[in-house]
C-alpha cells in the first residue's frame, strides 16, 4: 500500500525550472515537513525554511540535508535582514 505524491515528477520539474540552476540562498515560506524542500535543496547554496512552530517537522520526520535551516516564524514578520536571499518560495496548500 502506498501514496505516491507527484508521481509524474511535474512539481519538481517546474519548481527547478523556475528556480534555475545555482539558485543561491533560498527562503521557503511555509515549509511544513520539508516535502517541497527536498525537491530543490540540491540547487541551493543554502536553504532556509520557516513555518509556524506547530507545522514544523516532528522529531521522527524524514531528515533534511544539513545545509537546510528550519525555523519557527511568521511570514508577515520575517526574522532576516533585507536582501538576505536570492530566491524565495511560497507555496499554498488547501
Amino acid at each position: 500500500m502506498a501514496i505516491r505524491g507527484d508521481s509524474a515528477g511535474l512539481e519538481k520539474h517546474y519548481l527547478l525550472d523556475m528556480l534555475g540552476g545555482d539558485a543561491g540562498r533560498i527562503l521557503e515560506i511555509g515549509c511544513g515537513d520539508g516535502r517541497l524542500t527536498r525537491k530543490y535543496v540540491e540547487t541551493a547554496t543554502q536553504a532556509v525554511g520557516i513555518d509556524l512552530p506547530s507545522a514544523l517537522p516532528r522529531d521522527d520526520a524524514e531528515t533534511l540535508p544539513e545545509s537546510t535551516q528550519i525555523a519557527g516564524a511568521s511570514g508577515v514578520a520575517l526574522p532576516f535582514r533585507g536582501g538576505s536571499f536570492d530566491r524565495a518560495i511560497f507555496s499554498l496548500s488547501f
Binding site: 501514496i3 512539481e11 536582501g83 530566491r87 524565495a88 507555496s91
Partner: protein
C-alpha cells in the same frame, strides 16, 4: 499583501519569488484499470474557496503595486497515485479543508470488487506556478 512586502524586503535586488498554488479546480479522482481509465468524481475544495480568493487577490495587489513583475508562469498537474482504497481513505484523512464524498470510495469498491488488484487510484490537482522578479520601488 504585507507578507509579499516582507518577502520583497528579504530578497536581494533582482531576486525572485517562486509562487506555487493550486487553481480553483477541484481534485479529480480517477480509477485506472488494465482495460480502461475511469473518472470517478471530485474532491470538494469549496471550503477553502474564500481563502484561496484572498490569496490570489493579495498576489495581484502586490503586482499592481509594483512590488514584483511576472517573469514566467506555468500550469501543470500534481498527480498522486494510490494503490488501494485504504490509501485513498488515508489521503482523504490528511486533507485540511477539502472533503471527499463517500460516494467516491463506494464507487471504486464496486468497480474493483472480487479482490481485483490490477488497479490504480489517481488524483489530479491542477497547479499554477509563477516566477516573480523583485522590482525596485520608486
Amino acid at each position: 499583501m504585507h507578507a509579499l512586502s516582507e518577502v520583497r524586503r528579504v530578497l536581494r535586488p533582482g531576486g525572485s519569488l517562486i509562487d506555487l498554488r493550486p487553481t480553483a479546480r477541484n481534485r479529480q479522482v480517477e480509477l485506472e484499470l488494465s482495460e480502461a481509465r475511469l473518472h470517478i468524481g471530485e474532491i470538494d475544495g469549496s471550503n477553502s474557496a474564500a481563502e484561496k480568493l484572498l490569496a490570489d487577490e493579495a498576489l495581484q495587489a502586490g503586482l499592481d503595486r509594483g512590488l514584483f513583475t511576472v517573469e514566467h508562469r506555468a500550469q501543470f498537474e500534481y498527480i498522486s497515485d494510490l494503490d488501494t482504497l485504504e490509501d485513498l481513505r488515508e489521503f482523504a484523512a490528511g486533507l485540511r479543508r477539502s472533503v471527499m464524498p463517500e460516494a467516491l470510495p463506494r464507487r471504486i469498491a464496486a468497480l474493483t470488487a472480487g479482490e481485483r488488484e490490477d488497479y490504480l487510484i489517481r488524483i489530479r490537482r491542477e497547479m499554477i506556478i509563477w516566477r516573480l522578479r523583485r522590482l525596485p520601488i520608486g
